[in-house]
Symmetry: C2
Subunit: 670 residues, 2 copies
C-alpha cells in the first residue's frame, strides 16, 4: 500500500559489504597519511636537518600506537556493537559527564576533519597546479560549499563512486612507495626537489629537545584520526556484523600502517625538506613567491618525474580521498546527533532522523564553522593541525578507560571466559595508558599553538548538552502520568470556522458533521458586513442545516472574538471540550507556503492557548500538492553509516482521477 | 474577558490629532529640503558659477510644481479617503496594470527614501564633525541597522518623541533663514566659506544648456518626495478625517515651500558653491582630504558662525529629521504591503497585519537592500539621488491621470456638483500634465546616471505581483464552492496516537472520549518492544477502557505504519472520517521550539496527505508557556499611519493557581 516495503532480506542487502564499508569508513583515517608524515618531519626540521635521523623512531612510535589503538577498538566493537562507540562506552562505564565530554570532543573533531582535510586537499591540488596558489583560501571555502551542497541535496555514500577514490589512493600510493624502494634498491634512488635545501637548526636545551621530539610525535599522531569511525558504524555491516567490522578495522589499520611507514621511509630516502615557513629553507630562492609542495607531491615528482601522468594521478587521488574524508564529517555529525538525541543531550528531533530541515541546519552549521576556521587559518594545514587530534585523543582515552572499567566489571560478574576478559583487559589497559599519555603530550605541545580554542568550544558544547538534558528531564517530570492524574472532560461542542464559502470550508463542515458532535455550529467572524451577508446568502443557498453564528470584530481580528465566544460558551454550557475545525491547505511548492495558511496558523496558535479547545485540522490538497507524491525521498547524511535503508517515498495508493477527489470523501450524495 | 477591549471613543482617541499627524507624515517631505536645494545648485554649477543666476527661476518652477501637486492631492484625498492613495486611484480608474506599476514604483521609492535620507543625514553629521568623514559608509550602514532594530522591536511612531525633531527642524531652519535675511537687510549679509571658490564651466551647446537646466530642475524635484504620504494615511486622522488630512497636507506644503525657497535664496545670498566633485572648486586646497560641507551646514556656519551652538542645533535637527524620514519608509512599506495583499498582489499574510514574523522579514529585506545601495554608492547623496524620485513621479503621474479619469466619469454620471467636478478636473489635469512632464524630464536626465536600475527592479516587482495575483486567482477558482459541490462523509473513527504514557497523551485521550466518536482506539507504533510492553502495563494500571492497538514498525518510523493502518481501516470500514488525536506542546521560550514537537509535526504533515483524515491537536501547555500570557503585544510598523489601535495582549482570564490546571478540564473524577 505505502511505497514498497522492503522485505528483511532486501534490508540486509542494503547493508554494507566489507568492500564498500572499507572505503566509507577508511577515507578519513587513510587520508590522514597525506599530512601526518609531512607534519611529523616538518616539526623535526625545526631542530635542523640533522634531526631527521630521529624520524624513523618517531614514526615507529606512531605505528606502535596505531597498532594498540586498532587492537583496543577490536575489543570495543565486540563489547559494544550497537554503534555508540566511545560515547556509549564512556557514558555507560564512566558516567554521564564522561560521555558528554566524549561527545563534545567528537563534535569538535568533525569540524576539524572538514577543515584539515579540505586544507590538505587544496594543498595537494596546488602542489600539482602551482598557478592556483593565490586562490588557496577561495578553493578551500569553495570545496566546503560544494560538500555542503552535496549533503544538503542528499547523496548515497554507499555507492561505487564513493569507493573508487579510496581504492585508487591506496593503490597509487602503494605503487609509488614500491617504485621508489625498487629504484633505491637498484641504486637509482629518487631525489626530491627540496633535497638540496637545508635548515639551520637552533641550538636547543635538553628540555627543548625533548619537547620538539614530543611535538613531532604529536603531529604524527594525526595519522590516527578516524580510526574510531568503524566503532560508530557497526550496525551498517552485514552479518556477522562484529566479525566483519573487526576485519575491516584490522584491514584499515594494516593499510594505514603500510602507507604511513612507506611514505615516511621514502620521504627520508628522497630527502624531502619541508619547513614550517618556506623561507626557513636555505638554498631556495623562490620561497617568497612559490608555494612549498606537499610531501606527497615531492615524492611523486621525484619518483615518477615532475608533471608526468603518474604524478598527476597521485595528486588527484590524494585530493579526492581528502575531500571524501571531509565528507565523512558531514555524515558522522548527524549520526552522533541522533545518538545524543536518543539519550536526551540534543534536541529529540535529531533522534528520529527524518527531518531534512534539521539535518540541513546541521550541515550548514558544520560548514559555516569549518569555513570560519579555514579563513582564519588561511587554509594552512600546519595551523589547523594544531587544533586537531585533541578531540580524537580525548575520545580515545575516555573510551579505553571505559573499556577497562567494562572488563573489571566482567571480572566481578564473571560473565565472560577468563581468557577473553584478561586479554581484553590488558589490551584496553595498554590502550588507555598510551592514548592518555599521547593526550597529555598533545595537550602540552599544542595548547599555546591554538589548542586552547578547542577546550573553550568543548566547554560550551558540554554546557549546552547538559542544559538540554536537564530541560528534557524537567519536562518529563512535568508530564509524567501519576496515580492522581485523572482527566474528566464532559460535553462536546464543535465549531467550524468559516471565512468565506469555499470547498475547503465545506469539506471541514462535512467532516465535522460526520464526527457527530453533541452540538455543532458554524462561526464566522465578520470584518466586512457585505462579505458576511454574501456568506449568509450562500449558506442558505447551499441548504446547509448547521446554524451559522456571526461574530462582530471591531478590530478586524479573527482570533480574539472567536476566543471570547468560546470562553463565553464554556462559561454557559459547562466545561465542554470545544473542537474547532480549521481547513488547512496542503501545497506542493515550497514557495506556496509563503502564500497560504498564515492566518490559519496564527488563529490556531491562539486557540491552542484556550482552555478545553481542540483544533481539528482538515486538510485541503491543492492541485500542486500532487508534487509531494512524486517527490523522491532523498538519502540523509550518515544514513549509510548507520545501516538504515533509504525510506521509500510515501505514495498515494493510486493516481486519483481528478485532484479534488483526494479532498472528497468517497461517497457523494446529491 | 480578553485583554481590555477598547470602547469606540477610546479607539477614536488613538487616532492622530493634526499636531501629531503633521510630524509623522511630514518628516519625509520636509526633510527633502535638506538636499533638494543643494542638488539643484550643484547641477547648475556644472555649467559654471555664472549659471547660478538661473537658480531662482528653477527653484520657482519646483515651487509651482509643489503647489500643483499639493492641490492635486487635496482632490485625491477627498475622492479616495480610504488610504489607498495613488495605488487605489490608478487601479480603480486605469486598471490593474497601472495599479501594479504604482505599487512597484512606491516599493522602490521606500528603499530609496531609506538610502537617500540616511546618506544625507550622515552627510550633515559629518558637516558638523568632519572627523567622522572616514566612517561615512559605516555610519550610514549603522543607522540603517539601528532603524531596522527599532522597527523589529516595535515602536509607536505617534509619540511625542517622534514629533519633536520635525518641529525643531522647521523652527530652526525658519529662524536661520530669517536671521540671514535680516542680516542681509541690515547690510551684513552672511558669506559662506565656499563663496570665494569658483567653478570653471565648460562651454555648452544649446542642447547641453537646456539639458543642464532640466537636470537641475529634476534634482530640485527631490523636494516633492513624500508629499503623497498623507493620501495613504487618511484613516489615521481624527474626524472629520478628510478635512483634517487636507489641512495637514496644505500646512505641510506651505512649510515645505517656505523652507525650500528660503534655503535657496539664502544659499544664493551667502554664495555657497557646491560642486559634484569637491576638487572642481577652484581655490579650495584641501579638496582631496576634507569633505565638502552640506549646503545647510555652510549656511548655518555663515549665518550663526562656525561651530557655534545654533550651528550644531541646525545640524542635529537636520540629521534627526532625515533619520525620521528614513523611518517613515519602514512604516510605509508594510502599509502598502497590506493594501497589496488585500487585493491579492502580495502574500495574504500581509493583509491581516498580525504576523510579526512577516513584518520582520519586510523590515530585514528593506534594510538589506538599502545597505547594499548605501555601500554601492559609498553613501554619496548625489549618486543615490540619481535613482530617486523616478518612482515618486511614476506614482504621481498615474495617480493624477487616474483622478482625471475619475472626474470624467463624474461628468458622465453627474454624481457631484458641476463646479466641484470642473475644479477637480482642471486641477488634476494640470497635475497630471506637469507630473508627466517632470517624469519624462527626470527619466531623460537620470536614466544613464543609474536610473535604469530602478526600471529593472520595478519590472521584476511587477512580474512578481502579477504572478502572485494569478496564483491566488487560480486557487480561488479551484476551491470555489459550486452547486455540484456536495461532500458526504459517513462514519466516524477516532485514533489517539500514544507514544508513551504521559499527561499530554492522557489529556488527548480524555478529549477524544469526550467527543464521543462512534468508535475510538489508542494506537501505539512500536519501535522498541520493551517500551511497548511497559506502555501496555501502564495502560492496564490506569484502568483505561479504550483499547490499545500496537503497530509494528520495522524501520523505526511512526507515520508509515500508522498511515498504512488508517488506510486498511478505511478499506475495511467504508469511507469513515478518521480523527487522529495528537498532543502538541505549547512552549514559552523561542528556543524550546527547537526541543519539541518536531516528530509530531512530521507525523501531522504526513497524516494530512491521507484520505479522510482529520488531525486533532490537543494542546499541552508546559509550565514555561506562562510566559506567553505575560508577553506584551508590541506595535507593528505602519500601525499609527493606518489608524489601528495597538492590539491588547491576549491574556488568560485569571492567573491559574497551578500551571497544569490550564491543561486539565475543570471537572475531576477519581
Amino acid at each position: 500500500m505505502i511505497g514498497d516495503p522492503l522485505p528483511t532480506e532486501k534490508l540486509e542487502g542494503q547493508l554494507l559489504p566489507k568492500h564498500l564499508a572499507l572505503p566509507i569508513f577508511a577515507s578519513d583515517p587513510l587520508s590522514s597519511v597525506a599530512y601526518a608524515p609531512q607534519e611529523l618531519l616538518m616539526i623535526l626540521l625545526i631542530g635542523g636537518t640533522a634531526f631527521l635521523v630521529l624520524a624513523p623512531w618517531i614514526a615507529a612510535a606512531v605505528v606502535v600506537l596505531l597498532i594498540v589503538v586498532v587492537a583496543s577498538y577490536r575489543q570495543l566493537i565486540k563489547a559494544y556493537p550497537s554503534g555508540g562507540g566511545d560515547y556509549e562506552v564512556a557514558s555507560r562505564n564512566l558516567g554521564e559527564k564522561a560521555g558528554v565530554v566524549v561527545a563534545a570532543a567528537l563534535l569538535v573533531d568533525y569540524i576539524l576533519t572538514v577543515a584539515v582535510s579540505v586544507a590538505s586537499g587544496v594543498d595537494n591540488i596546488i602542489s600539482a597546479i602551482p598557478e592556483l596558489n593565490p586562490f588557496r583560501v577561495e578553493l578551500a571555502v569553495g570545496f566546503v560549499v560544494v560538500l555542503a551542497a552535496i549533503n544538503l541535496r542528499g547523496v548515497r555514500e554507499a555507492s561505487k563512486a564513493f569507493a573508487v577514490p579510496t581504492y585508487l589512493f591506496i593503490a597509487s600510493i602503494a605503487v609509488m612507495v614500491i617504485v621508489a624502494l625498487v629504484r633505491t634498491a637498484l641504486g637509482d634512488a629518487p631525489v626530491a626537489e627540496s633535497a638540496g635545501f637545508s635548515v639551520h637548526g637552533e641550538s636547543l636545551t635538553a628540555a627543548a629537545f625533548v619537547l620538539l621530539l614530543l611535538r613531532s610525535f604529536a603531529s604524527g599522531c594525526a595519522a590516527l584520526t578516524g580510526v574510531e569511525a568503524i566503532s560508530n558504524g557497526v550496525p551498517a555491516f552485514r552479518r556477522p556484523k562484529v566479525t566483519n567490522a573487526q576485519r575491516t578495522l584490522v584491514a584499515m589499520g594494516g593499510i594505514a600502517i603500510v602507507l604511513f611507514s612507506g611514505l615516511t621511509v621514502v620521504a627520508l630516502i628522497t630527502g624531502v625538506q619541508y619547513a614550517e615557513r618556506a623561507c626557513d629553507l636555505i638554498g631556495w630562492d623562490d620561497c617568497a613567491t612559490s608555494p612549498q609542495r606537499s610531501l606527497i607531491a615531492q615524492i611523486a615528482a621525484s619518483t615518477f618525474g615532475n608533471n608526468t601522468i603518474p604524478f598527476f594521478i597521485i595528486q588527484a587521488t590524494t585530493a579526492a580521498v581528502l575531500l571524501l574524508a571531509a565528507n565523512t564529517a558531514f555524515n558522522g555529525f548527524p549520526l552522533l546527533g541522533s545518538v545524543l538525541a536518543r539519550d536526551g543531550y540534543a534536541p529529540k528531533a535529531l533522534a528520529s532522523r527524518g527531518d531534512r530541515l534539521i539535518f540541513s541546519n546541521g550541515v550548514l552549521a558544520l560548514s559555516a564553522v569549518a569555513i570560519v576556521l579555514l579563513i582564519g587559518a588561511q587554509a594552512n594545514v600546519t595551523t589547523l593541525i594544531q587544533l586537531y587530534i585533541i578531540g580524537v585523543f580525548i575520545s580515545f582515552t575516555l573510551g579505553q578507560i571505559g573499556m577497562v572499567r567494562h572488563w573489571l566489571r566482567q571480572v566481578r560478574e564473571g560473565s565472560a571466559t577468563p581468557g577473553a576478559i584478561w586479554r581484553g583487559l590488558s589490551i584496553n589497559a595498554l590502550g588507555a595508558f598510551m592514548t592518555a599519555s599521547v593526550l597529555v603530550i598533545v595537550t602540552i605541545t599544542k595548547f599555546v599553538h591554538g589548542a586552547w580554542i578547542v577546550f573553550v568550544v568543548m566547554a560550551i558544547l558540554i554546557l549546552l548538552m547538559i542544559g538540554v538534558n536537564r530541560y528534557y528531564r524537567d519536562v518529563d517530570r512535568e508530564i509524567a502520568a501519576d496515580a492522581t492524574t485523572v482527566f474528566g472532560a464532559s460535553g462536546d461542542h464543535a465549531i467550524v470556522l468559516v471565512g468565506r464559502m469555499s470547498k475547503p470550508v465545506l469539506k471541514a463542515l462535512d467532516y465535522a458533521i460526520a464526527a457527530r458532535h453533541e452540538s455543532i455550529e458554524a462561526v464566522h467572524v465578520s470584518i466586512d458586513d457585505a462579505a458576511s451577508d454574501t456568506l449568509l446568502d450562500q449558506w442558505a443557498a447551499h441548504n446547509i442545516t448547521v446554524p451559522m453564528r456571526i461574530l462582530a470584530s471591531p478590530y478586524r481580528d479573527i482570533s480574539m472574538p472567536l476566543i471570547k465566544y468560546i470562553k463565553q460558551h464554556r462559561a454557559d454550557h459547562g466545561a465542554e471540550v470545544v473542537t474547532v475545525y480549521l481547513p488547512e491547505y496542503i501545497v506542493g511548492h515550497w514557495w506556496e507556503t509563503v502564500l497560504h495558511n498564515h492566518k490559519a496558523r496564527r488563529i490556531r496558535h491562539k486557540l491552542m492557548l484556550v482552555h478545553g479547545v481542540v483544533v481539528a485540522l482538515v486538510p485541503w490538497l491543492l492541485d500542486s500538492s500532487d508534487l509531494i507524491y512524486g517527490r523522491r525521498s532523498r538519502p540523509l547524511p550518515g544514513q549509510d553509516r548507520r545501516g538504515e535503508p533509504v525510506r521509500p517515498p510515501l505514495r498515494a495508493p493510486k493516481a486519483p482521477a481528478d485532484a479534488n477527489s483526494r479532498n472528497r470523501s468517497t461517497t457523494r450524495r446529491d
